[in-house]
């Protein structure tokens, strides 16, 4: 466990006092469905929709890289979307992105039993990796871009029996505890908890770095450990029951691009009056 103090000096500058951090940080990285590229027929064809890193997880990775000091930060992914064989390679590519941002290694749990698994099972698998590898801190995005339920960080905390702080927009670690600004709808709370702890972060916490070409190359050599449930010594087989229907929105897509600004304004007003909305 680490012991150190950090104080914040304006945007993104940290002053390190005392010894360097040797924290071990696990970052939950979801290989999420790319909702910008949904494959849609009568239903959403999940199996054909590409995966990408869940956007807010980049913020969690960035925060881990900033906080780890001389320590270690690793990514944890539990593959949720099948088919397994095809997705393993896709997920590995996603994890390489996180490695290029500065994570040291990654753990990819790929198992048929975890595809479309219940959230209970997913959280158990993540917690099993954290227990196996060890961590002082688990970081995650506030929610993932595909399902956007935001429940996994609290579940993982419950499973590990660690404290949880959700929706952190500022975070520091000092004297064996984590202090965070928790950004809620109507208020901001300053919350502290002893390490080890689970913290979910918002997009506002930092600006995720764009990896350099050098970092991308270096990431190719970093280890991505592939695990199955039997490697973790657990068995889970609870599937979620869900079907996905696309929301069909028919927009008129009338484009007004010819004429002077005056004429265009007149046309827009005409249309909106015909619609009876102004």
């Amino acid at each position: 466990m680490c012991s150190r103090e950090v104080s914040k000096l304006g945007e993104g500058i940290y002053l390190w006092m005392g010894e360097f951090s040797h924290m071990k940080i696990a970052v939950l990285v979801k290989t999420a469905l790319d909702t910008g590229q949904l494959r849609v027929r009568d239903t959403v064809v999940v199996e054909e929709t590409p995966l990408k890193i869940s956007d807010i997880d980049r913020n969690a990775v960035e925060e881990a890289v900033k906080l780890k000091g001389q320590g270690q930060a690793y990514g944890v992914t539990v593959l949720k979307w099948g088919p397994l064989q095809k997705r393993v390679q896709e997920a590995e590519n996603v994890l390489r992105e996180a490695l290029a941002m500065g994570l040291d290694e990654a753990y990819l749990v790929a198992d048929e039993a975890l595809l479309n698994a219940s959230h209970v099972a997913t959280a158990k698998a993540i917690a099993a990796v954290v227990k196996k590898v060890g961590a002082d801190l688990v970081l995650a995005g506030e929610a993932t871009v595909d399902n956007y339920t935001g429940q996994i960080p609290a579940r993982v905390a419950a499973e590990l029996e660690w404290p949880v702080i959700t929706y952190a927009r500022e975070l520091k670690v000092e004297g064996g505890k984590v202090v965070a600004k928790r950004d809620l709808e109507d208020r901001v709370e300053v919350v502290e908890a002893p390490l080890p702890a689970v913290v979910s972060v918002t997009r506002e916490i930092n600006q995720p770095r764009i990896p350099t070409l050098l970092a991308i190359r270096a990431a190719m050599k970093k280890p991505v450990h592939k695990l199955t449930l039997s490697d973790l010594g657990i068995s889970l087989d609870v599937k979620a029951k869900a079907s996905y229907k696309p929301v069909v929105i028919q927009r008129k897509r009338v484009i007004i691009k010819d004429g002077t600004p005056e004429e265009k304004a007149e046309k827009l007003i005409q249309y909106l009056r015909q619609e009876g909305v102004i």
Partner: protein, 298 residues
């Protein structure tokens, strides 16, 4: 089925009543009095409702014998839901827009994939559910209430050391009929005045995309429309200088008419608009203000 409501409000109590017998968990005697007559059983736990682990602990105790635990879709309540659901070995269905019990399972619908799809989910009981606001409108039936105290002995690991209330303005975008929304096309903060003027003439409110509220902080967060901001459903959504990132679009899908003004003909917002005007906002917005104020005063 029996449903336990945590952080009760009218919509939650109504949603619970459609499932069966209703219990409610509150955190003070005043709250217990407010919910009396609307839930058969009222549980009072003297814990700090801001601390999710304490609320989850109290809820786990109260939930014994219940099939469904219902929560609001606030961030704090969702944190409670995650903790509670893992303890119960239950699924947690968040932001549901419909909910029913059928043959011992709970069926619900929720928006997923950036609001581009609706998931129909089915979960065995016990199950934890958070409901989307505005979807469960009705009057919870009057019932006889009995009150029970819940004892929570656990010492919390997390501690709230300070609270800063956010400024509350008069902005209620969720209820606005007309929203004039601003994005990065505006070059400086002062220029947003144009949008406020236009909104005033139209009798609408001003919304904004993420960068305006979160990065530039030109407007308070209550104006922010999108996946992590407000989800709106006006009859007219007028997007000015907004490119149309998926996270923004996710917040405006329920709008009746979407109009967009952008100087870039390739801006994604035009794919999602009923009426798109390709023009420099600095040229066209003053003209719109002028014409519409004449129309409105005529």
């Amino acid at each position: 089925m029996k449903a336990l409501v945590v952080f009760p409000n009218k919509e939650l109590l109504y949603a619970a009543s459609t499932l069966g017998e209703v219990g409610a968990l509150v955190f003070s005697d005043a709250e217990a009095a407010a919910v009396s007559g609307k839930a058969s059983k009222v549980y009072v736990a003297a814990v700090d409702p801001r601390v999710p682990e304490l609320v989850a602990e109290a809820a786990a105790k109260a939930a014994s014998g219940y099939d469904v635990v219902l929560l609001p879709s606030t961030k704090n309540a969702k944190t409670v839901g995650g903790l509670l659901a893992q303890r119960l070995g239950a699924e947690f269905l968040t932001d549901v827009i419909s909910l029913k019990a059928e043959g011992g399972v709970v069926k619900a619908e929720r928006y997923v994939f950036g609001n581009k799809a609706v998931a129909t989910v089915e979960a065995p009981t016990p199950v934890v559910v958070s409901i989307a606001p505005g979807r469960f409108q009705g009057e919870p039936p009057a019932v006889q209430s009995s009150v029970e105290k819940i004892q929570v002995d656990a010492a919390p690991k997390t501690k709230v050391v300070a609270v800063e209330e956010k400024a509350k303005g008069a902005v209620r975008l969720e209820e606005a009929e007309i929203i004039v929304s601003v994005g990065r096309g505006f070059k400086k903060k002062e220029d947003l005045q144009m949008a406020f003027e236009l909104a005033k003439i139209l009798g609408g409110q001003v919304g904004c995309s993420r960068p305006i509220a979160a990065d530039l902080k030109w407007l308070p967060e209550e104006h922010w429309v999108g996946l992590s901001g407000k989800k709106v459903k006006p009859k007219l959504y007028l997007a000015i200088g907004i490119s149309g990132q998926p996270q923004h679009i996710a917040g405006i899908l329920d709008s009746r008419i979407i109009a967009a003004i952008n100087s870039d003909p390739a801006a994604p917002i035009f794919q999602y608009a009923d009426y798109g005007v390709v023009e420099d906002l600095y040229k066209i917005v003053p003209i719109l203000i002028n014409k519409l104020s004449k129309l409105k005063s005529a």
